[in-house]
């Protein structure tokens, strides 16, 4: 960008009014608008053209700039959404800072909605307002923040591993931080996975092999984030690794001789022995991906008899039982007992309703649907019927939510293979009692499908389809000030506009830490997060919009009102200067909302590109014109 025309010289404003081939000029007297604009302070050139957006129209602007006649531009034409970028582009082409531009919308907001003399009057006023603002404009440059070509991924499940792999593939260095000694997350607890039937171990081994083979990825197991500061491009973090203990040691013993990358059922993928003693690693990372996953709901003592009756187990427990290849025969056998009849109960710990369900220890209900458990349950039911044809399977459900591709097939197959369905309402859930005719337990439930008729089913095993709960990651949430939704899962900025982003730039969500999802969906989310992180980091710097708050230190008295008002964390802080405390904005963290501008009584803060001075100039121009016309 040339140093000329950079907004430092006294304003010489060029005004260009468009006819829009009659669209404007049929209702607005363009000649009169041009004439009056020519008479305004600072205006050196005022012209009109039948189509300002056309090449000849743009040429007018470029020529006036290059010949030194003007150093700020106002175009009065259609809505800025259509051609503001066109005109800024022309200005840049002429070597001038494109922010020395203001747009007056005299088509959508004048000629198309007003007719008669009022239209010309309003167009004149809007041009005068734009000229007023143009006089106050300053040249702006995008804010550049250096960016470390490094990303940190928290969590080593499917989402975390996928994200790490995808980030590395874009040339970034990656730290993959996993709390446990193993990679793989909750999928390690599974056997066959819907909808493709692939073995969980195969999926995890393949993914882990890609991660472990990639030189750009460093895996830290037994590790957690211990310190966090900074902003997009350069987060300063520390990773604390602790020597494994307790159950982790036992599980590690199982894989002692295994190569990293080996999958051990129910445990995970081996990734080295973990540190001998606690250690801390300091990193500078350009972006952070959160992939901390979920937890299985644990039913409280007594929910459907869980914890009281040994014949009541959870779905993950059933999946582990069935994974045992040696279990064959006409009927499923559990703990030496033959299972003639088995009941699967859906929605345990999910879709809870205030006033109907008991809140958990934290006083909260899981009102969400866990999304995967219907299909997982039906998959288990189909497998049971196939492997153990003499074991009868009952599914007690509220709604069958086999929404995904290939999911409905499990439902159809379950029906075909003789699984019996009963539907219950949350107000009248199944009741599990000990004993029964020829059975260990009896389940009674009013079946909605039979007009509420009560069914009593003698069963030998009850399986609870427990849902997905948000993981308790309080320490992390507090350290990173992560937003959490009413459902206690991590909360994105906007589910559609920015589905994998957090309000703080450079931090992304992937997988089941955001909401229940299956592995393919978790991998998708990881890809989406890695795409966003990659886009900002691969250039080596991050370019941010220049429309952020700026403090005039000569006016600031250090009251701190702005810091109080600011909506973004640490976007504005008080720093010591030789004079006294002064506010200072961190452009990388500022959202550009301007709440601080409104809060500062000294008028010491302005939002670049949208200053109060500019607005006042606009209002003055409008009032002057309006009162002139009214008079």
């Amino acid at each position: 960008m040339s140093k000329l025309n950079n907004g430092q010289e006294p304003p010489k404003i060029g005004v260009y009014v468009c006819h829009c081939g009659g669209n404007i000029s049929d209702h607005v007297d363009v000649a009169s608008v041009v004439e009056q604009a020519g008479g305004l302070a600072n205006v050196t050139v005022a012209r009109d053209n039948s189509f300002m957006c056309s090449d000849p129209g743009q040429e007018l602007i470029i020529e006036d700039i290059t010949s030194g006649k003007v150093n700020r531009i106002v175009v009065a034409s259609c809505a800025p959404a259509l051609h503001e970028t066109t005109f800024r582009g022309a200005i840049a082409l002429a070597g001038m800072n494109p922010y020395l531009y203001e747009h007056a919308n005299i088509r959508e907001q004048v000629s198309w909605v007003h007719h008669g003399p009022g239209a010309t009057g309003k167009a004149t006023a809007l041009v005068a307002a734009a000229v007023g603002k143009a006089g106050e404009l300053e040249a702006l440059e995008p804010i550049r923040v250096e960016a470390e070509a490094h990303a940190t991924v928290l969590g080593g499940g499917v989402a975390g591993m996928s994200a790490a792999r995808d980030l590395a593939a874009q040339g970034l260095r990656v730290a993959l931080v996993e709390k446990s000694p193993f990679l793989g997350g909750q999928v390690a607890q599974l056997d066959k996975t819907f909808p493709s039937g692939e073995a969980a171990g195969e999926v995890l081994s393949a993914l882990a092999a890609q991660v472990l083979a990639d030189q750009r990825i460093t895996v830290y197991t037994c590790a957690e984030l211990s310190e966090y500061s900074g902003y997009v491009g350069s987060f300063k973090i520390k990773i604390r690794r602790t020597a494994p203990s307790g159950a982790d040691l036992e599980r590690l013993a199982l894989v002692k001789d295994a190569q990293p990358g080996t999958f051990v059922p129910c445990v995970g993928v081996a990734a080295g022995p973990g540190p001998g003693e606690a250690e801390e690693v300091a990193l500078v990372s350009g972006a952070i991906v959160l992939a901390t996953g979920f937890e299985h709901y644990t039913p409280p003592m007594g929910e459907y008899g869980y914890g009281q009756m040994p014949e009541v187990i959870t779905l993950p427990e059933l999946i582990r039982l069935m994974a045992d290849e040696s279990a064959t025969g006409e009927q499923l056998v559990v703990n030496g007992k033959t299972i003639n009849n088995l009941a699967l109960i859906h929605c345990v710990g999910s879709r809870q309703i205030p006033g109907v369900h008991q809140p958990g220890p934290d006083g909260k209900l899981n009102q969400h649907c866990s999304r995967v458990c219907c299909t997982a349950t039906l998959q288990a039911a189909c497998e049971l019927r196939e492997k153990f044809p003499e074991t009868n399977v009952f599914e007690l459900y509220r709604d069958i939510r086999t929404y995904g591709r290939g999911h409905e097939d499990y439902y159809l197959n379950a029906g075909r293979s003789g699984v019996i369905f009963a539907r219950f309402t949350p107000e009248a859930p199944p009741v599990v009692t000990q004993g029964g005719e020829d059975s260990a337990l009896t389940v009674t439930v009013p079946d909605k499908l039979l007009a509420g008729q009560e069914l009593a089913i003698g069963v030998d095993l009850v399986v609870l389809a427990v849902g997905m709960e948000p993981r308790d990651n309080q320490a992390l949430v507090e350290k990173m000030k992560l937003p959490v939704g009413a459902d206690r899962f991590l909360l994105e900025v906007h589910p559609k506009l920015r589905p994998v982003e957090l309000p703080a730039a450079g931090i992304y969500l992937a997988g089941a830490c955001q909401a229940p999802m299956d592995t393919a969906e978790a991998a998708n989310a990881a890809g989406a997060a890695a795409a966003k992180a990659g886009a900002i980091l691969s250039a080596g710097f991050v370019e941010l919009d220049p429309f952020v708050a700026e403090v005039d230190e000569s006016k600031c008295v250090g009251s701190g009102a702005c810091v109080q008002a600011c909506l973004a964390d640490e976007a504005i802080e008080m720093v010591d200067t030789p004079a006294s405390k002064r506010a200072r904005v961190n452009p990388a963290l500022c959202m550009g909302c301007g709440v601080c501008v409104a809060a500062c009584e000294q008028g010491a803060i302005e939002l670049s590109g949208w200053t109060l001075g500019q607005y006042e100039a606009m209002v003055d121009a409008i009032v002057a014109q309006a009162l002139r016309q009214g008079a």
Binding site: E108, Q109, M591, A598, L612, V619, A626
Partner: protein, 140 residues
């Protein structure tokens, strides 16, 4: 519209993301509304201090409509901040003897044509009824 109201300009502070495009959508539909309305683009109206509003009235602005994105505001937290600020401005307006109907916070989306026109007409009626800003205090 009342010729008298036309004398006092109505300022519309419209958000870049929602209500400014909303106003353009009214234009595309060629729906008429009074021409004493001046729409000013802003990233969010939360940036205006109380003084800005009061100064506008002092300068002769008859009414101000804040057209925000409402809960769809892209700046997390700015909408509640705005709501709080508006309450503060109302208090100051009352002190200065300004009828608080001269300031109206609304949420207008990109295609809310009818709501836009309704708000503009309503404010025009208010301004026509009240006359010059500040005259209500003198009258009282």
């Amino acid at each position: 519209m009342d010729a008298c109201a036309g004398k006092y300009p109505i300022l519309i502070l419209a958000t870049e993301d929602c209500s400014y495009p909303g106003a353009n959508s009214v234009g595309q539909a060629h729906q008429n509304y009074p021409d004493n309305t001046y729409i000013i683009r802003t990233p969010t109206p939360a940036l205006f201090p109380e003084k800005f509003y009061l100064d506008c009235f002092a300068k002769g602005v008859g009414g101000i409509i804040i057209m925000s994105c409402g809960v769809e505001c892209p700046y997390e937290g700015a909408y509640p901040a705005l709501a709080k600020r508006v309450n503060g401005i109302y208090a100051l307006m009352k002190k200065q003897g300004l009828d608080i109907r001269r300031l109206r916070p609304t949420a207008i989306c990109t295609v809310c044509n009818r709501a836009f026109i309704k708000e503009v007409n309503l404010m025009n009626q208010v301004v026509a009824e009240l006359g010059a800003p500040g005259s209500e205090a003198r009258a009282a």
